[in-house]
């Protein structure tokens, strides 16, 4: 069989087909709501974020200090053993300079780009990164390996959420030595 010998299904519609009413549609906005149980590990994690601290769990079998904390070790498959506070500083493992929002709409020309990053938190086992945002930094100055520190919301504004950390900012001003020239992000 060769695909070329078949009349393939799938009929392409153009935007104008909808605009002119050539194609009718049925719209539906699902009204779904969830309240996820945080449980023990994430419950404590959020409590501590409200206190302005980051807490991890330790497995005595593989000796990993794990972030986000979990009540069981997914590798040793046993309960984890103890809580441990870690720093609110870390190292940028990787980052992006995002000009689109979550729904694929574009950031306006005046809106600064979003700066998501994976940050390996100091005090946790190497490689334990969390997703968060960078701030107070020029996108062109961000580098992998850069040291950053959490910028917290004011304590009275914290709600026990990952957004109690506003973003992470560079620990010290970016090195003056220019990185090799590269296309502007």
């Amino acid at each position: 069989m060769e695909l070329e010998k078949y009349k393939l299904g799938g009929t392409h519609l153009k935007s104008s087909d909808f605009e002119k009413g050539k194609v009718l549609t049925t719209a539906w906005q699902p009204n779904l709501a969830y309240t996820w149980d945080n449980g023990v590990a994430i419950g404590r994690y959020l409590d501590e974020l409200k206190n302005g601290r980051i807490i991890a769990r330790v497995c005595h079998e593989c000796h990993r200090i794990m972030l986000p904390p979990r009540m069981f070790c997914e590798l040793c498959f046993r309960p984890t053993d103890e809580w441990m506070y870690v720093q609110d500083t870390g190292v940028v493992s990787t980052f992006s300079v995002a000009r689109v929002n979550w729904d694929a709409s574009r950031r306006g020309p005046k809106e600064p780009p979003l700066l998501p990053a994976v940050i390996e938190i100091d005090g946790a086992t190497k490689g334990m990164g969390i997703l968060h945002m960078l701030g107070e930094v020029d996108p062109d100055d961000i580098k992998a390996g850069m040291k950053v520190r959490a910028v917290w919301k004011k304590s009275e504004d914290r709600t026990g959420a990952i957004t109690d950390i506003l973003y992470f900012k560079p620990l010290r001003a970016a090195a003056s030595k220019k990185a090799p020239a590269r296309r502007k992000r």
Partner: protein
């Protein structure tokens, strides 16, 4: 040990389009009917049906496997849906292989469908809820972030430039010019990719495959039945799948070890010792251009960090030593998630039969591979086919 041999004996596919007039049920039917016609069967001959389709949020139907059952030919039959996120399309024939290799079925219809355009205003919106609801979603992430984060990490690890990676997009969109299902086939240059809109640095518009509607289907048969149905059965000689931890922030994003684990499982089953030599043609998943390179390395088709160089040298072109994505891949043919994976399997099926038309690679390949990847950059699915 003697496993029951399973062959692909027929295939069907729709065009991949941005917005299809057909419903998901109708697309599934079109692909299924074509697959059955291609091997001279009717639905009555089919023992069991399995359906692959990715998030319900696209079609906007809870339990969409149930909704699609009639279109996929599953009514009043043993019918089941399987699901491994973006890896679903290549997992579909693996799930079908379970049906036939186990002896439960002699003929199994495998259907993969995706209708992304139902999700408004843009299918990207459905991806917000792939992130952890408590520790990540409040940051309002988009799917492109994680690819940008992974691509950046990959570039750093091996000192690659955006141009090194853009060549994949150029190759695949060009290859797709010869694919009758293609949605975004075009002749472009590396400069076009670099000059296209920056979405999330380092990801530009032309680094990404489009959102698509489409369906694909294959018919699997046991050895006895396959030899009766066709002179050119294509055998499923190895299957592999593997999922990595959901704590994706703790993984080294520069290397897809879950693809390697899945590939090792498939190679062991197929008796492949040196994949780079024994695999003649491959369709790794390429929803983003860097992913093709990433996956070639995970599949051990080349040393780590070497895939970009091989691409630049033409090694992976359709007439190169190891043709990669001769179909045009997700970047060129389009990316209706589950259907894309099965499109890749169908491409290998046609290439091994020498029926790929203008896309046919030279040298009469006898061993090929398709691979998909999904979830939060953590799921690898691999299938090895031989003629």
């Amino acid at each position: 040990m003697g496993m029951r041999k399973v062959a692909i004996v027929g295939a069907g596919i729709t065009k991949f389009v941005r917005r299809a007039q057909e419903t998901g049920k109708e697309l599934s039917w079109q692909a299924s009917k074509m697959a059955l016609d291609s091997c001279g069967l009717t639905l009555d001959d089919v023992d069991m049906v399995t359906l692959g389709t990715a998030p319900d949020a696209f079609d906007g139907v809870h339990m969409k496997g149930e909704y699609l059952a009639d279109g996929a030919g599953g009514c009043r039959k043993p019918y089941m849906r399987h699901y491994v996120g973006g890896g679903t399309g290549v997992f579909s024939p693996i799930h079908g292989w379970f049906h036939v290799a186990s002896g439960m079925a002699d003929i199994c219809l495998v259907v993969a469908e995706e209708k992304m355009s139902s999700c408004h205003p843009h299918p990207q919106g459905a991806f917000l809820t792939i992130f952890d609801h408590t520790t990540e979603q409040p940051l309002k992430p988009t799917l492109i972030w994680i690819f940008a984060l992974e691509m950046n990490r990959y570039m750093q690890a091996y000192g690659l430039s955006k141009a090194d990676i853009a060549r994949v997009s150029v190759k695949n969109k060009g290859n797709a010019l010869d694919h009758p299902s293609a949605q975004v086939a075009e002749k472009i240059t590396v400069e076009d990719v670099l000059a296209s809109e920056t979405l999330c640095w380092p990801v530009n518009r032309l680094d990404i495959s489009p959102a698509s509607d489409g369906a694909a289907a294959v018919v699997l048969a046991s050895e006895r039945v396959a030899r009766r149905l066709t002179d050119k059965p294509v055998w499923i000689d190895g299957v592999g799948f593997s999922i990595d931890t959901a704590y994706w922030g703790t993984r080294d994003l520069s290397y897809p070890r879950y693809v390697e684990t899945a590939a090792r499982m498939a190679y062991d089953m197929a008796g492949i010792k040196e994949p780079a030599k024994e695999i003649h043609i491959a369709e790794p998943y390429d929803p983003f251009d860097y992913k093709e390179l990433h996956h070639m390395e995970g599949l051990m088709l080349c040393p780590r960090g070497e895939a970009a160089r091989l691409t630049a040298e033409g090694y992976t072109a359709r007439d190169g030593n190891l043709p990669i994505c001769p179909s045009g891949g997700a970047l060129g043919v389009g990316n209706p998630i589950a259907a894309t994976g099965l499109m890749k399997v169908i491409e290998i099926f046609l290439q091994l039969r020498g029926e790929a038309g203008k896309r046919q690679v030279p040298g009469k390949p006898t061993c090929g591979l398709a691979q998909a990847w999904g979830d939060l950059m953590q799921m690898g699915t691999v299938i090895v086919l031989r003629s």
